[in-house]
Amino acid sequence: MEMPAPNASVLSRKDQIVERLCGVLPRDAVISDIAETRAYECDALTAYKCPPLCAVLPANTDEVSAVLKICHDMGVPVVPRGSGTSLAGGALPTADSVILGVAKMNGVIETKYDDRYIKVQTGRTNLSVTGAVENNGFFYAPDPSSQLACAIAGNIAMNSGGAHCLKYGVTTNNLMGVTMVMMDGTVVEIGGAHLDAGGLDLLGLICGSEGQLGVVTEATLRILHKPEGARPVLMGYDNSETAGQVVTDIIRAGVLPVAIEFMDRPCIEATEAFAKAGYPMCEALLIVEVEGSDDEIDYQLDLIMKIAAGHNPVELRQAKDADEAGRIWLGRKSAFGAMGQINDYMCLDGTIPVSSLPFVLKRIGEMSKEFGLDVGNVFHAGDGNMHPLILFDANKPGDLELCEEFGAEILKLCVEVGGCLTGEHGVGIEKRDLMNVQFDPQDLEAQMAIKDVFDPAWLLNAAKVFPLETSQSRRAA
């Protein structure tokens, strides 16, 4: 993965830049020591590393504005960073960039249960947003797997999803307003505690723009009352076509589960060895969860069980209590960790129309043999968001490159069947050079034109999202 050559002029002015940043931030909020900047050299896409010029940890919107104004004046690239959990390299620095971390900004600004919103600083972690309201029975719905660590800032940048978005939507559907600092230091308020935009939907544009349009410092988020209860059912099938059909049949029956998760045999084997959740050994396993009161759950699960039973399951198991529910989820929740025990892995994130599931899984299996790399599939089946985990050995020369090549082929397949490169992780650097597969030049031009408006000098996270050669003239300007 190529990154642009650092700007020599910026590198040579490091002392001046750091000095000016120290002028607007407390001394301990500017990290310029080479050993210490290593803490910011990568995010969760650990295959790529590069220490930044320096890192800053502002404590509020004013400080972010002051930092960006300086960087704007001095022509210094800025890479915003939430908690650094991006799997797409969204927070990967360049050597000439200032990492702007929001970690210190983690406060709750306002909670209003009557109006069902919470306003937080964006360094706050996803799970602690729910933590702030759960005593009143409320929760924040988007639940990416990294929710214990990931920051709201990163969730907004990547428009993060999670296991429960079939019912509750992704970040953009739960974001009501932001305070954002533009690259030139201008502070803008978009949206608020009300619904929908008065003019153009700039909020919708900001969400998912991967930190390229501005730095979001505060966010107003929709909160909901927790359901009375939730319970999963587990079903196993001897082929993925049948499992795919079951998913379709459940959706068509008018039941809208909160989650439909899918795991294939390699994944089941890995998680069983790791977590011992008691899963059946089969080709395709589904976990379907519904919500409501006990009676409502019984009624919906009964419908789902009937559909499932009609397709000759090798296993059909309903959780009778919280303990059994926990066991059903245990394997799914430890799937990534389990795969990580076997080897290094790359986690893909393409989305496909649900109807293409069997075909795509079959092709992935075939390609796995062609490339000689094992793949486990675990994903959100209800919305077609796949997560193939390709196993490779980072210490074996050439294996990472082979894995990336394989990954690219899978993503191209996702686009071919009418899907997309990324459903919830973002493009970052990982899928940057595949954007031409999904988009025609004029489609990318329209997107880049938007960055021109928000960040004319292309200083914010500029080496991401767009293929380097496509964005070359703008970044060099």
Binding site: K112, D114, D115, R116, G137, F138, G161, T172, N173, T186, V188, E189, I190, A193, H194, L195, D196, A197, G198, G199, D201, L202, G204, G208, S209, P227, V247, T248, D249, I251, A253, G254, G292, S293, D295, E296, Y299, Q300, T351, I352, P353, V354, D383, N385, G418, C420, T422, G423, V427, M435, Q438, Q442, D443, A446, Q447, A449, I450, V453, F454, V465
Partner: protein, 374 residues
């Protein structure tokens, strides 16, 4: 001009030498613009419908009625419940799906499931230079590149002319129930709606009509789903609502009243303002502020939807409602009338600059519905 294809539309726009007035079915003439009429109504038809994937793709000029009929065959629906503006605005013709998306039109269910913009998965459009652009797609989760789908949704044709949209659809429901309270004042009604919306009982409609069908105040709370579940939640809500007044329950379709589809259509289409003289304004704000805001308007009549977060106000002709609102968390749009005020809420300077910048990129010659949104 009524192009039959996207290519023809692109040619017309590229070759245009003056402003264009873009319409779908022409049933939502909100705001003022001038220019040669350009309608998408001849670009019609459902391109793809996959009930098992909950997605439908249709050309922009496809009548909403055609889409709803196709969905009904599979027992599915457009869950955001797009309002039909015809009776309120006194227009005729067929509302199109492109028009719904271009105006981000939703209905009472918006409070629960989201607006049109939350269901819009993909768009194809022609920008002001005549370039055909594609964004999003037809899958439910997609973060590939910037989300121009939402930007185009609600842009009233000013950034580009939609040619095709893909939408997420949802299953229809087995039963609808309604919890009703009569005679509440606005502030109490909104407190009741907030209590309902803050419960775990999945409210899909929360409206207060100070002048209901019979002229008396009625507060309406909708629940939908499987019959057993609706009955259960309706009972729970009845208990929850007791402190606010006497509660009436309606489960399933009845001959008349608010629990029926008729009642919610009445709310959705703001039927109580139809044929009433005056200007119609639409205010989005936070529910807890709504009753006090409405009180200071000096309105002829008001209606609350979205738990109070959406206020419809009927104002004496020519009144600048914004002057009476003052600074609010939210915005007001002039939907019908002659008030000497911008149709859309003026933006603060930094946002106005971004908006102007985006317009200059997507419509450099300023020919797409010029001036409509500013």
């Amino acid at each position: 001009m009524t192009p039959q294809s996207e290519a023809e539309l692109a040619e017309i726009i590229a070759g245009a030498n003056g402003p264009l007035h873009i319409t779908g079915g022409g049933t939502r003439p909100i705001g003022h613009t001038n220019g040669a009429a350009l309608s998408t109504s001849k670009m019609s038809g459902i391109t793809l419908y996959e009930p098992g994937a909950l997605t439908i793709v249709a050309k922009a000029g496809t009548p909403v009625a055609m889409i709803e009929a196709e969905l009904a065959k599979e027992n599915q629906r457009l869950a955001f419940e797009p309002m039909d503006h015809r009776s309120l605005l006194g227009t005729k013709g067929d509302p199109t799906i492109g028009g719904v998306v271009a105006t981000n039109t939703s209905g009472p269910r918006r409070i629960a499931v989201g607006a049109c913009r939350d269901f819009a998965l993909g768009v194809r459009f022609v920008d002001g230079a005549g370039t055909i652009i594609r964004n999003g797609g037809r899958v439910m989760k997609n973060v590939t590149g910037y989300d121009l789908v939402k930007l185009l949704c609600g842009s009233y044709g000013t950034l580009g002319v939609l040619t095709e949209v893909s939408l997420k659809v949802l299953p229809n429901v087995e039963t609808t129930g309604c919890v009703l309270l009569y005679g509440l004042d606005d502030a109490t009604a909104i407190r009741a709606l907030s209590a309902a919306l803050g419960s775990p009982f999945e409210i899909t409609g929360a409206a207060h009509l100070p002048n209901g069908m019979d002229g008396e105040p009625v507060t309406m709370i909708r629940i939908e789903g499987f019959e057993k579940s609706v009955t259960y939640r309706a009972g729970k809500l009845r208990d929850l609502m007791k402190p606010f007044g006497e509660v009436t329950l309606q489960i399933g379709e009845t001959d008349d009243g608010y629990g029926t589809e008729k009642g919610w259509t009445w709310v959705r289409d703001v039927t109580c303002f139809v044929d009433q003289p005056g200007d119609v304004w639409r205010i989005s704000t936070k529910p807890s502020a709504a009753a006090a805001l409405a009180a200071q308007l000096g309105a002829t009549a008001v209606q609350y939807d979205w738990g109070g977060g959406l206020i419809w106000a009927l104002m004496p002709e020519g009144t600048d409602l914004r002057a009476r609102l003052g600074t609010i968390d939210g915005h007001a749009t002039l939907i019908r009338g002659k008030a000497d005020a911008p149709t859309f809420h003026p933006e603060p300077a930094p946002l106005a600059a971004i908006t102007a910048g985006l317009r200059a990129k997507f419509d450099p010659r300023g020919i797409l519905n010029p001036g409509l949104m500013n």
